[in-house]
């Protein structure tokens, strides 16, 4: 039996999901630049991980 405070409670993820959706719906200046920059970082990280494995 999992103790009460140890039970997963995924409902608490809902605000993050809604926030992401709201953020995506409301475009702001610089979104493209930010997307490209963090996308590039992601690609580099994935590449580094595969190189190291």
């Amino acid at each position: 039996m999992v103790p009460a405070q140890g039970k997963p409670f995924p409902y608490l993820l809902l605000p993050s999901l809604l926030a992401s959706r709201n953020r995506a719906r409301r475009r702001e200046r610089g979104d493209l630049t930010r997307g490209l920059m963090f996308g590039a970082i992601g690609v580099v990280v994935v590449w580094a991980l595969f190189q190291g494995s």
Partner: protein
């Protein structure tokens, strides 16, 4: 009793923040929790009632539920309004309230009208679909209050409700609190503002250095002043004044 506290103690190492506080709030009562200088133990006491802090000793009951033994039942019947509104900034007011209602088990069919009702009550109806990040401090404060009353609690704990509110907002909150108390909700309200306590509270407790130093109706507290002054300020300063004057001395 809506809220009953028995010999509550909270220590942090050698420092005693709350030192044997006992008080009760009856259904339909607005009980003011007045403060001495900062660090008097107010926020610690309110957080223990809300179940956010564990007492070192003592017992807290909310609507007959022991906060330590039946935390879910106690919290389900309590509304807590902190002094600073922490809200998800990227949610709309409606989304925030629906999420909050979900935490208290309000289902999808009943929650929509209730959210609208609360937003209208706190004059936020036309902001339902706006992101919280665009709200002023006062609007955020009103949104937190609407969330606290959303699940129809029978006891409410409020920490400094008037901070950052304009006169119209303050009037609105006073009216809502009065209406809720008439419906039998017991309200424990901390405040620094003596005028607010004087105008709204049925009973007042004054806390200083973690201890309750005076309690009674506004008339009882006034009588402790024996200065003939009709205002609570002089009584409050008389009861807590040593420390307050010492603070001024230290600053000057």
């Amino acid at each position: 009793m809506s809220i009953a506290i028995h010999d509550l103690v909270k220590t942090y190492g050698k420092f005693t923040a709350v030192d044997g506080v006992s008080l009760d709030v009856k259904p339909g009562e607005i009980h003011g929790f007045l403060l001495g200088p900062n660090g008097a133990g107010k926020t610690t006491t309110l957080r223990m009632i809300a179940g956010l802090l564990k007492p070192t000793a003592g017992r807290i009951e909310v609507n007959g539920h022991d906060v330590a033994k039946e935390p879910e039942a106690a919290k389900a019947s309590l509304g807590f309004i902190p002094d600073r509104p922490y809200i998800y900034e990227k949610l709309t007011a409606g989304e925030f309230l629906r999420f909050h209602g979900g935490l208290f088990g309000l289902d999808g069919t009943g929650i929509g009208p209730r959210v609208k009702e609360m937003l209208e009550l706190f004059e936020l109806g036309r902001w339902e679909n706006e992101l919280v990040e665009s709200f002023s401090h006062g609007m955020k404060q009103r949104l937190v209050m609407s969330a606290a009353f959303l699940h129809r609690p029978q006891a409410v704990v409020v920490d400094e409700p008037m901070v950052g509110l304009d006169p119209r907002g303050a009037r609105l909150i006073k009216d809502v609190f009065r209406k809720m108390s008439q419906r039998g909700v017991g309200i424990l309200m901390s405040t620094h503002t003596l005028e607010v306590a004087q105008e709204m509270c049925d009973r007042i407790s004054i806390i200083l250095k973690g201890k309750i130093i005076a309690r009674g109706t506004v008339a009882d507290i006034r009588a402790m002043g024996d200065s003939g002054d009709d205002h609570l300020t002089s009584v409050f300063l008389k009861l807590t004044g040593g420390s307050a004057l010492q603070e001024i001395d230290e600053i000057v």
